[in-house]
């Protein structure tokens, strides 16, 4: 089974993606989706040497909801800044966010989240993976930013990833 379906989650994702692509759930497409769901992971298996172990899949939904909300907010905030605050008055700052995440995938998700959310861009990761360099567009209190990231995202990610 492991050899036949090396990445079950991926297989499902691919099947779903296929059905989404064709915008159809006709039997033919379901069959094709199944075939692709089996075949493509088989091929890309070699490119996926490490297993991502998701400990608590349900927390993903929670995480997505939090992030989606933050994205909405951040967009409005950034739009505000862009429209009404001229450059020099922006208190931009680079901060270090120490992290402790178990897996590169988790680190990646965190950096992605940081970039998508309020006024922050993850500019670099520490060579040992234990910190993220974050650029804040307009931050009065850099520590608050660090705290928010660790509290809102890192904590949840630790729960999701094994």
């Amino acid at each position: 089974m492991r050899r036949l379906v090396p990445h079950p989650v991926l297989s499902v994702v691919i099947a779903v993606v296929w059905l989404a692509l064709v915008n159809s759930a006709a039997p033919g497409h379901v069959l094709l989706a199944a075939v692709l769901g089996l075949a493509i992971p088989h091929y890309s298996n070699r490119y996926w040497p490490d297993q991502v172990v998701i400990r608590r899949p349900l927390r993903i939904v929670d995480y997505i909801a939090v992030v989606a909300w933050d994205i909405l907010v951040s967009n409005v905030q950034v739009a505000w800044l862009v429209l009404f605050r001229s450059g020099p008055r922006l208190r931009s700052v680079l901060v270090t966010v120490p992290i402790d995440l178990p897996h590169p995938t988790a680190i990646t998700v965190l950096t992605g989240t940081i970039t998508m959310t309020p006024g922050t861009v993850s500019a670099d990761v520490a060579a040992d993976g234990r910190a993220v360099l974050v650029h804040c567009l307009d931050a009065d209190d850099p520590d608050a930013v660090v705290h928010q990231i660790k509290d809102r995202y890192e904590r949840r990610l630790k729960e999701i990833f094994a």
């Binding site: 967009n75 862009v82 998508m116 670099d124």
Partner: protein, 133 residues
Amino acid sequence: MATVVEIVVAALIVIGAFFLLVGSLGLAKLPDLMRRLHAPTKATTLGIGATLVASMIAFTAATGSLSVHELLIAVFLFLTAPVTAHMIAKAHMLRHPALQQQLPSPPGTGWATLAPAPVDPEAPRTGEMPPAP
């Protein structure tokens, strides 16, 4: 019913367009690259997101069957936009020694872009992910 759909779609389109414009405005207006990065990577995601949702609704309404393939564009963009910004930021830092001096002192071995590389002729060949800490 049709009007509600139309209103929603129209609204989403206008919202999307607004954020797209703001994103590009930020790109044009903000004073330096690190700051400019914020505008497009954020505003455009919502901009595109809104138009994509508009498209999903519009097509679903028009054809009567669910149109979700727009989601794929969104998935692609949400996966890739942070990476784009990240890579640009890294390249920017590498190219600006002045900026390197202002960096907060990194923990441990330093920032990935700037840390001393392990001196190993074979190193470039190994593409494995760094081991989990």
